[in-house]
Symmetry: C2
Subunit: 332 residues, 2 copies
């Protein structure tokens, strides 16, 4: 039995576009309505008509705020009083911490002991309680469940959660509202939260739009899962796209992707650096490596975009300045 | 007799807000309507409510496109056929070149022989004819006038021109339309084109809004001119704010500034670098040093913004990647 079939057998209720609409109401006036940007140079380079959804300009620097804020907003008053817990060393940690602060919900974040001090400090800066663990000897999922149970917290995982998925879908909803119908939509793919939401929104608002997931070449578990028809687990991949270093899709995200995605393609890290330089030089945007995945697929031809009207989601901009300077300064 | 009095005696007709409205119609659908962005961190840091107008996301990376496109659009059919000439090694050169290409008007750009090869190439890339001159032995103003006369071209200088000023005013018009009434507006100040347009728009739409010009400390000719009541000329200042290395205000820009500005303040280059790092790290924006002037005035307290609702114009993002990486990578 495949993981997806099991998940459906287990009676998981997948989110729908109605949940995306509910999420849009919850985040209105709190999340930034990020701009849809265009670039003549990008169009000339690809022969396509590209519209970039700049989620690097979202609060805390990534789309993750949408899902986190929606998921915490959806809790009951009792759950809110007790607080939430999550595990993440990346953007979801800060998204939960900030959302908790805004809504007035206590947050506990499990972070690996070797997470960058700046990220731990930033997460604490939002008022979260950070619990460090040893990622080589401890299982963060089990730890999260234990903490949730012992302290009565609600666990909000980074992507495999219906309200997280619904929240992420609001980015695509806004993009299609602003840009009009698209032929294609290219979406960075890690655990699948962003693209699952994108699929729900695109298929409801713009059924003809073909949605592609883009993974780093080194971490193509999503592509393998799609080909095989079941969730494939890989070792944590070596890639600069740290937001897509996920080893497997989720029980909610996999069936949505399997049923609705056009295809999943990959791009090498060198293409991410080239896209990062393009964004900085031509579009004046700081984009993190993971945020460059979709654009890199258009620039490299991994998805054939010529002659098409194409949405491209820039998922985030959280890269430390020293790394960013190294990436864009090389050979400049 | 002061320069300003002379300019008025000479019968110069200053642009008005009606010209800004005409410009807005001309650029509609061609210039980007750039986003107005906010940052919780910037608000916490200043105690103000800041709204950033992101003209670094404008076409060719700076507000200059607005004025250049408006000025070329305003020409008669005969003038358009003959073409235009300008002198600039900076953003105005590319703005004229791109606008000429879009409207179908031949453009000639006078650039110093020692201008960065990349800028010369970019300007030629837009289809402009680049004429190089020796800035140590040749007078670019005289050269421009000569070229204009001998070849029947219309000279469109970088700032001292009513249609250029009116075009730049559309940035402030959009900002106030989107953000609503402001207590203050902070504007980078070089030759005064951007702030003159800002003053026309602000005083018409939001008369209570106090408008401040911000210059680099090393190049405070505008501040000196305001204090003295006449145009003061200085040597080309040493500052990383290359867009504000102007040595004097213009005959159009000075009287508008003199009559309508609240004050002109200065900030040191170190504050520009700090603002550049802030924009990259927290707002995910690439901003050139000149584009950081207004924000630096808010961050350093050069203008007391606490408790106020303040518009901050980010004028552009055209900084080469190697320099940018050096600025933001230092100490990161």
């Amino acid at each position: 039995m495949t993981a997806a079939a099991r998940s459906l057998t287990d009676g998981i209720a997948l989110p729908t576009y109605a949940d995306v609409e509910t999420a849009a109401k919850r985040i209105a006036g709190v999340a930034h309505r990020t701009p849809a940007l265009t670039s003549r140079t990008a169009n000339e380079r690809t022969g396509a008509n590209l519209v970039f959804k700049a989620e690097n300009l979202q609060r805390m620097g990534a789309f993750k705020f949408r899902g986190a804020f929606n998921a915490i907003s959806a809790l009951s008053p009792d759950q809110k009083r007790a607080g939430v817990v999550t595990f993440s060393s990346g953007n979801h940690a800060q998204a939960i911490a900030l959302s908790g602060k805004l809504i007035g919900v206590p947050t506990v974040i499990l972070m690996p002991q070797d997470a960058p001090a700046a990220k731990v400090a930033a997460t604490r800066g939002y008022g979260a309680e950070v619990v460090l663990f040893d990622r080589y000897s401890q299982d963060r999922d089990a730890l999260g469940r234990e903490l949730a149970q012992s302290r009565g917290l609600t666990l909000i995982p980074p992507y495999d959660h219906p309200d997280v998925i619904a929240g992420q879908g609001t980015a695509t909803r806004e993009l299609i509202e602003e840009a009009g119908p698209l032929d294609m939509l290219l979406v960075p793919l890690g655990g699948g939260g962003l693209i699952s939401g994108a699929l729900l929104a695109a298929k409801a608002l713009n059924p003809g739009c073909k949605v592609y997931g883009v993974e780093p070449e080194a971490g193509n578990d999503g592509q393998q899962s799609l080909r095989k028809g079941e969730i494939v687990r890989i070792d944590v991949p070596k890639t600069i796209a740290d937001g897509a270093q996920t080893a497997f899709l989720g029980n909610y995200t996999f069936p949505i992707i399997r049923d609705l995605v056009e295809d999943i393609v990959t791009v090498p890290d060198a293409a991410l650096i080239a896209a990062m330089r393009f964004f900085a030089e031509r579009m004046k945007l700081v984009v993190e490596p993971t945020g460059c995945l979709a654009a890199a697929a258009a620039f490299t031809g991994a998805v054939p975009v010529e002659g098409k009207r194409v949405g491209v989601i820039i998922s985030g901009g959280n890269v430390d300045l020293a790394s960013f300077a190294r990436f864009v300064g090389e050979g400049a």
